[in-house]
């Protein structure tokens, strides 16, 4: 059985879903206008990912190959809907700010990709740790993006004002184009260090 720590590290660093695999881009760009939203989205996706990984892994011997994708999708959609209800009932503010992107976790390529590439070939424990690692990697990436955009665009960190009122805010960064630019720069910085190494 694979080493849990290795699996988690793999998800966060070696195969970081956002910076290395470049999948699950829609929520990455859409909800990161603030750090809280980014982390909230990351954690919601992590929860779905862990549960769907476990169940796909448990069912991997029962599910016939021909209908495996529809089966995975049903499993994923079920957990997404559960998360949607839970957030709506207990964290309505987060539910409101993530909006449409909660039901859209279903089509986050990250989750289906892990079901197909990892969970359907490994045991439930390894699949759970893979889910945790990938989920955390995703959450951290979204958190960093949200932090940078919130700081430059609104002068706040986690809704607390850190830049003096007189300092101009670059509003563009909390709008759509800022999402593209911030991610581009973060990836370029990572590439730079990788090229050097």
């Amino acid at each position: 059985m694979a080493n849990p720590i290795k699996l988690i590290k793999n998800g966060i660093i070696n195969e970081n879903p956002t910076f290395v695999q470049v999948i699950g881009m829609c929520p990455t760009l859409a909800v990161t206008s603030s750090a809280i939203n980014g982390i909230g989205m990351g954690l919601a996706a992590t929860a779905v990912l862990v549960f769907s990984n476990i169940f796909v892994s448990l069912l991997r011997k029962i599910i016939p190959d021909t209908v495996r994708i529809p089966c995975f999708i049903v499993v994923i959609a079920t957990f997404v809907t559960i998360i949607e209800f839970v957030l709506k009932a207990y964290v309505p503010t987060l539910y409101k700010s993530l909006g449409l992107f909660i039901p859209l976790i279903v089509v986050n390529c990250l989750i289906l990709a892990r079901a197909e590439a990892f969970a359907s070939k490994n045991g439930p424990v390894a699949a759970a740790f893979d889910g945790i690692g990938m989920g955390l990697g995703f959450t951290i990436a979204l958190g960093i993006l949200g932090l940078v955009r919130e700081f430059i665009g609104a002068g706040t960190l986690f809704d607390i004002t850190v830049l003096p009122e007189a300092f101009p805010r670059t509003l563009l960064f909390v709008m759509a184009p800022g999402a593209f630019f911030t991610l581009a720069c973060l990836m370029a910085i990572l590439n730079h260090f990788r090229n050097k190494a």
């Binding site: 959609a77 039901p103 089509v107 184009p177």
Partner: protein, 192 residues
């Protein structure tokens, strides 16, 4: 009149890719060449309009009467997945060349969040059948426009020197960001 505005708003003002961030995966993945981008755009227009229509029928004639609205997410995604399968089989027979070109990307339409997104948005906004289909058509046309323009720019960039660290995805993202600024100019033009 309003219906025309709905389509125009989908193409320019609320462009799914550049202002709503729906369908980013195929937007980044299938945009290295203009012809494949155009093929993908056409496929999305077709699948998305069809999916919106079927999803609307499923929602209003199955989910609502049976009082099982909470199954909407599963129902929509299954509708889309089967539709994509159908389109794939159809293309394989009717247009093998296009099928070859799109290759692995056709199944990816299933996980194009714009397709599911438009179905969910139509439901949330309570659009009627015609509005739903036109909203999907406009949104998909906007996607096609964005991806074809984007591929055109990327083809040019591919022949030029870019800073080493920015090669590949970062450069593509910067390009998308600049296009997004351009499309920002349309915002607020149409009130719905």
């Amino acid at each position: 009149m309003n219906l025309i505005l709905l389509v125009l708003a989908g193409i320019f003002v609320n462009n799914y890719v550049l202002s709503q961030f729906l369908g980013i995966c195929p937007f980044l993945g299938v945009s290295k060449k203009v012809d494949t981008a155009a093929g993908m755009g056409m496929a999305v227009i077709f699948v998305m309009s069809l999916a919106a229509a079927v999803a609307w029928l499923v929602y209003n004639f199955i989910l609502v009467p049976l009082n099982i609205i909470y199954l909407y997410n599963i129902a929509f995604i299954l509708v889309i997945a089967s539709l994509v399968q159908f389109v794939e089989m159809f293309l394989k027979k009717a247009a093998p060349a296009l099928y070859q070109a799109l290759g692995v990307f056709l199944p990816l339409i299933t996980t194009n969040c714009a397709v599911l997104g438009v179905a969910v948005l139509n439901m949330q906004k309570g659009y009627n059948f015609i509005e739903s289909v036109l909203n999907a058509l406009g949104g998909a046309a906007g996607f096609a426009l964005a991806i074809v323009l984007f591929a055109g720019i990327r083809e040019r960039i591919a022949d030029n020197d870019t800073p080493k660290a920015f090669e590949g995805f970062p450069m593509a993202l910067i390009t998308a960001g600049l296009m997004s600024i351009a499309f920002l100019g349309f915002s607020g033009l149409i009130k719905l």
